[in-house]
Amino acid sequence: MTVASFLDPPGPRGRRRQQIATGVTAVVVVAVVVVALRRLADRGQLDGDRWEVFAQRSVWTFYLRGFARTLQAGAVGGALSLALGLGLAFGRLARGRPVRWAATAWIEAFRAVPLVLLMFFAFLGLPRLGLDPGPFWSVVIGLTGYNSAVFAEIFRAGILALPAGQTEAADAIGLRYWQSMRFVVVPQAARAMVPAIASQLVVLLKDTSLGALVSYEELLRRAQITGEFARSPLQALAVAALFFAVVIFALNHLARRLERHRPTPLAAAEIPPETLLTTGAVRAA
């Protein structure tokens, strides 16, 4: 839905008013852009020599390699989070109490603290405990700690959203717990979960940029280095920002397409929108 349905289609006067409002808005937008550009120009931020670094090929390879490291940490962190999250979801749904409590405690605790704190703990704290993960693994540990909890909740919600009749039917034909999970529950729940998982993976990739704070030389850190080196921090950062924005916008777009073209629409198994919001993957259409 784009326009609120409780708006009546405008008559001739309404249309006229809308045209005026559109004109005013357009003028305001253009004015803001012009003022911003003029300010940048006045302070010499648009001068050619400020952007000179980007005429060099080596700077672009430096950035691209940095982005490759963003993807690396994101991919490893994503894979580990998914695996751990699946385990935690089953743990939380398990019948044995100790397992259920342990999984619940992990999920509730790691979902509630800042991801940066987890990265800092891995980076500063773990070496004191005789285990030096280094920047890359600090980033991965931080990402995995937080996102495993988020994925666990997505999985759990997906499994619980499946109509109870499915597991009952599986029980009735004599399947064991793991068989019913493996052949009945997970294959159906997985379909409903794909969009939520995809959105959360994009969030995870965004969060990889926090690695700059623990000296992991991904795209953002490299932009900072380039900025200091070339004495044009604003420009170096702006290029990185544009890079992030374009890539993540495209990925978000893809994730949303998954939502629309779901292979089998299992209406009853859809994850309620609140769950998507709680997990941070806000993307209700």
Partner: protein
């Protein structure tokens, strides 16, 4: 664990700053979110586009990138705010996009028949919105808005670290280095964040359950 007891003041001060930062940012985010959501359902195509652009930009830009761009970039064009104010603006603008989307999808959960029926009995636009649609929509938004607020508390750590605002996270980072006991200090921070957010989570869940209805 003596480090924590010795620096309890620092922790408590940090918690206060984190809370204050989160509350102010949330107020700004709600204000922005309302405007964004209004833009996104507006009959003006241009307003809809602007709303969508705003949301997409902040959905696509990592928070840390935005924080650095704002805090270190703006002074280059002669606009400089103190760290705390910057952090509020950065978090508020970033979270405003999330709030805007939550409000919009909350409004969308109200079946369009409700709005049409309200029109049919002769209510005006603002009456439809204020008396029929929003009261129903708000109930479904409690959960999402609550989790956005809690995410904001977590995100405040990122903004604070980037701009050296002396919140819980920043002070812990300083303390971890100065005391050379990062494990104890950061474990304390972990617990402090749990104390901050876990009761909030329970409250949000309880409220959402209390006001939920099945249609």
């Amino acid at each position: 664990m003596d480090v924590i007891a010795d620096n309890l003041d620092s922790y408590l001060g940090g918690i206060a700053v984190t809370l204050w930062l989160s509350v102010l940012s949330f107020l700004l985010a709600v204000a922005i979110g309302v405007v964004v959501a209004t833009f996104r359902v507006s009959p003006l195509r241009l307003a809809r586009t602007l709303g969508a652009v705003y949301v997409e930009v902040f959905f696509s830009l990592p928070l840390l990138v935005w924080a650095l761009l704002f805090f270190f970039g703006l002074p280059k064009v002669g606009i400089a705010y103190p760290p705390f104010t910057s952090a509020v603006i950065v978090l508020g603008t970033f979270t405003g996009a999330l709030v805007g989307e939550a409000l919009r999808s909350g409004i969308n959960t109200v079946p369009s028949g409700q709005g049409e029926a309200a029109r049919a009995v002769g209510l005006r636009f603002w009456q439809v919105l204020g008396l029929v649609v929003l009261p129903q929509a708000l109930r479904t938004m409690i959960g999402p808005l609550g989790s956005i607020l809690l995410a904001l508390v977590r995100n405040s750590a990122v903004a604070a670290i980037a701009m050296s605002v002396d919140d819980l996270m920043w002070r812990s980072d300083q303390l971890a280095t100065s005391t050379a006991q990062p494990v104890a200090v950061l474990t304390g921070t972990f617990v402090a964040y749990l104390i901050l957010t876990v009761p909030g989570t329970w409250l949000v869940n309880a409220l959402a359950r209390r006001y939920r209805f099945t249609r």
